[in-house]
């Protein structure tokens, strides 16, 4: 399975954030898919299940919490690791993310190094196979 490129779905309503994340992760050998809100994210995920979700919290139409809650009820998607990204660093926000179904929580801004390290760990990719595929 190390030969496949890992697919990451980035759900964020800010185009700059999506572009930044794409740049960082593609440079690291990931395939990046984008969605602009929770509903869009669910549709993308259903159509093409990713190996990792990176989800913003505050979005129009459906926020990140709601999206993860629905996603965790979908048999095909409930075990896809998910990272939440927020501007809030309060414990209560982390707890809420955890309850919604996030596996990890980054507070903005996220360093490129941390982002790609998290993506690598959560998709089960060792350092060696960084650029292959």
């Amino acid at each position: 399975m190390n030969n496949d490129k890992r697919r990451v779905l980035v759900v964020d309503d800010a185009v700059t954030v999506r572009a930044y994340t794409r740049q960082v992760l593609e440079a690291d050998g990931f395939v990046v898919d984008e969605a602009i809100n929770g509903i869009d994210g669910l549709e993308h995920a259903m159509a093409n299940p990713p190996d990792l979700l990176i989800v913003d919290i505050n979005m129009q139409k459906m926020d990140g919490y709601a999206m993860l809650r629905v996603l965790r009820q979908e048999p095909a998607l409930r075990d896809v690791p998910a990272v939440m990204i927020s501007t809030e660093s309060k414990d209560s926000d982390r707890e809420q993310a955890r309850l919604a179904g996030a596996n990890w929580y980054f507070v903005k801004p996220v360093k490129p190094k941390d982002l790609s390290e998290a993506a690598r760990l959560l998709t089960g990719r060792s350092h060696e196979d960084k650029r292959e595929g």
């Binding site: 965790r72 075990d79 690791p81 955890r98 690598r120 760990l121 990719r125 060792s126």
Partner: protein, 730 residues
């Protein structure tokens, strides 16, 4: 209040509760390693939490408890009743402090002195070490060390020195800094200006402007020797410094360890079975990915072995996270931790709120059908079709509203364990004080009742158990003499039956001396001698509920109960419930409190009298009879009937309410049999009507002053129902 602090208050309460429960277990079973560990863990976690908020006295208090337990765990001290007392006191103090923190946002004044005193008492209870001399308040700076200072000096007994050099000391050849250099085992040296620095030009270089605060690990005598030339300028004391609250050396944790730790936290979350299963699945995949990414093949194999057992998985993941940071070996799956899900009141409420939200959503959907129907009507749709559509929508809305009602009621429903919680401790303390041996058995804690009902139940329940301990349970000697086991039993059980929530307090003690109760009641003029003599044993026992019988201290001489029984009855009846009592001399006593499930909705028995409807809480009604006029005995105007071989006084509702006499010629009378907390009364009414669930509103305005009315309720057809308070009427 900030959310973190609120969280602390909640957590501290839970931890103190958990510690109390563990201590009870430990006292009963002094070798119970699990109990020691639970207690230790609770205190340890609490200490950490207090450290977050910089409340040194609280940290000190908890630390003292932790020290004592350490001594027990290491076999240096035994769990004596004295030590248990001290520990209980420590927990009680903690509870009071948390209450104070909750209400005022800080610890009570003098908390530090109290904490030190408890510390000393605990040491004394441990027997071994001699309590150190209480340091004066001047040394309070020792409590206010920074985290960094605490890391070197914390958690041990130290010699503290306050050195205030004389301003002219340089002229006598002293160099204070040089003296400090000579202090053996120096742990801390603070050099402070005595006053804020003046302009440099105003500073006299030959007058000493500094003072020194220092801690040493050396014994007091050794430190004092250094300062023997300046005894008037130093104060020296032996004291214990609260330990560092955080780990001695902060461990820099990698992202992988942090994420692993997060996965353990996720597994610890509460939730429905489906939620937990989904979490287990995603955590499993996440952890497997991380181990794969790191090439930890052995750990991955071990992961698969525990994958199916949520508790074991959680322990394992915690172990993985610790493995890199100095913890245990990760490849050995941890023992399954004892299942002790933390109480999370808020979480439960959140779930119930979610249910409400989704019902509101359904209501919005159902409602959205109405504009559609309105358009249909405008466009001339047939009446049959419209009626059909309206009926369907009404059906949907009805169903949703019903569920909404139930969901709202459930928001207020809590388990009875809340009111049972103080009992083990109460029994333990009282039994120890009275020299009695008592086993408390609780059952039905999971029974649920309205929050208001729980509030009503709390006090009476404590009263009853206390009474049982004080007056019901005999001393071990007396029990042995009576051929009973030395250890008495108090059973407190709760269950739900059709009338509401029933809570029973039963003991196997001496029972109530009906004769003595009877005599007392006559002595106090509460009942006439001949009436008292006519009472059966059972009825005589119920006299304890009469106000005035139990208010005097003389009553506790009755080897039965008495204290505050009328208060118990009053509280329970006020909530629409009733009290029953049964006692057998020599065998014990059983008191039963019957309360409605909720106070918002009262189930009433309706009767008709003189053309109006009246209601009585059904919890009071024990029967309905048709009695032939010939069977009614009358002595002057006092009427009575015989019911189950007992004479029951008969009252007429019309007379009680000052209404005209019934002049109908009827062969039988409708008699409502009512239990007024120990006294059975027959009540003649014009006719019985159905039962109804009503929302009782208290009387307001001028009416509030009327005696005899519990309140009013509006019936389904709009009629007003007066609900009577019989006790007030009689």
């Amino acid at each position: 209040m900030n959310p973190l602090f609120e969280q602390f208050v909640i957590e501290a309460r839970e931890l103190l509760d958990a510690a109390g429960a563990a201590l009870l277990r430990l006292e009963r079973e002094p070798g119970d390693a699990g109990a020691i560990n639970d207690l230790f863990r609770a205190l340890h976690t609490l200490k950490g939490a207090t450290g977050l908020f910089d409340m040194a006295p609280f940290t000190r208090l908890v630390h003292a408890g932790e020290d004592a337990l350490m001594a027990v765990r290491e076999g240096r001290a035994a769990v004596t009743p004295e030590l248990a007392d001290r520990l209980f006191q420590l927990l009680d103090l903690g509870v009071r402090w948390v209450d104070h923190l909750d209400a005022e946002g800080d610890l009570p004044d003098g908390a530090d002195a109290v904490a030190r005193e408890r510390e000393t008492l605990l040491r004394a209870a441990l027997g071994g070490e001699k309590a150190v001399e209480a340091p004066s308040g001047a040394f309070s700076w020792v409590d206010e060390l920074t985290e960094a200072e605490r890391r070197t000096a914390g958690g041990r007994t130290v010699t503290a020195v306050m050195y205030d050099p004389h301003p002219d000391c340089f002229f006598t050849g002293d160099d204070p800094l040089d003296l400090c250099r000579k202090i053996p085992d120096l742990l801390l040296l603070r050099i402070e200006p005595v006053e804020p620095w003046p302009e440099l030009s105003a500073l006299d270089p030959y007058r000493c402007a500094l003072r020194f605060r220092t801690l040493s690990a050396a014994p007091k005598d050794d430190v004092a020797r250094v300062f023997r030339s300046v005894p008037d300028q130093v104060r020296i004391a032996t004291m214990t410094v609260a330990g560092a609250v955080t780990a001695p050396e902060p461990v820099v944790e990698g992202l992988a360890e942090s994420i692993l730790r997060e996965q353990a936290r996720i597994l610890a979350l509460e939730g429905t079975a489906a939620e937990r299963e989904a979490r287990r699945a995603v955590v499993l995949r996440t952890v497997r990915n991380i181990l794969t990414a790191q090439g930890r093949e052995a750990d991955r194999a071990a992961l698969d072995r525990v994958a199916e057992t949520p508790e074991a998985l959680r322990g394992f993941v915690e172990g993985l996270a610790d493995a890199r940071t100095g913890g245990g070996a990760a490849s050995v799956p941890f023992a399954v931790p004892a299942a002790a899900p933390a109480r999370r009141a808020l979480r439960v409420e959140a779930e119930r709120m979610d249910r409400l939200m989704s019902l509101v959503g359904e209501l919005v959907v159902a409602k959205s059908r109405l504009p559609y129907l309105a358009r249909e009507a405008r466009e001339g749709q047939s009446f049959e079709m419209l009626a059909q559509g309206l009926k369907e929508t009404q059906g949907q809305i009805d169903a949703i509203v019903g569920e909404l009602q139930a969901a709202v009621l459930r928001l207020r429903v809590l388990p009875l364990s809340r009111v049972f919680e103080p009992l083990p401790r109460l029994v333990r303390d009282a039994a120890r004080r009275l020299g009695k041996s008592v086993e408390l058995r609780l059952s039905g804690e999971e029974t649920q009742a309205d929050k208001d009902i729980l509030d009503v139940l709390g006090e009476p329940l404590l009263h009853l158990v206390r009474n049982s301990l004080d007056h019901g349970i005999e001393t071990p000697d007396a029990r042995r003499a009576a051929g009973k086991p030395e250890t008495a039993e108090i059973r407190v059980s709760a269950f739900q039956d059709k009338n509401g929530v029933v809570v029973e307090v039963a003991d196997d003690g001496a029972g109530i001396d009906a004769g003595a109760v009877r005599r007392k009641a006559v002595e106090r003029g509460l009942i006439e001698a001949d009436r008292a003599a006519a009472l059966t044993e059972e009825e005589a026992v119920r006299l304890v509920f009469l106000p005035g019988l139990s208010t005097s201290s003389g009553v506790s001489d009755l080897s039965g109960r008495g204290v505050g029984m009328d208060a118990v009855r009053a509280a329970v009846e006020q909530a629409g419930g009733r009290v029953e009592i049964a006692s057998q001399r020599g065998h014990g006593t059983r008191v039963r409190l019957v309360l409605p499930l909720t106070m918002m909705i009262t189930r009433v028995m309706m009767v008709e009298t003189a053309g109006a409807l009246y209601g009585f809480p059904v919890t009071l009604v024990t029967g309905m009879l048709r009695v032939r006029r010939g069977d009614i005995r009358a002595v002057k105007r006092a009427e009575s009937i015989v019911l189950h071989d007992a004479v029951v006084p008969l009252l007429r509702l019309r007379r009680l309410l000052g209404l005209p006499e019934d002049d109908r010629a009827v062969g039988t009378e409708a008699v409502l049999v009512v239990d007024l907390g120990g006294q059975t009364v027959g009540l003649v009414v014009d006719g019985f009507r159905e039962r109804a669930d009503v929302v009782l509103k208290p009387m307001t305005g001028v009416l509030a002053r009327l005696r005899g009315y519990a309140g009013t309720a509006v019936l389904g057809d709009g009629q007003l129902l007066l609900v009577l308070n019989l006790r007030e009427l009689l």
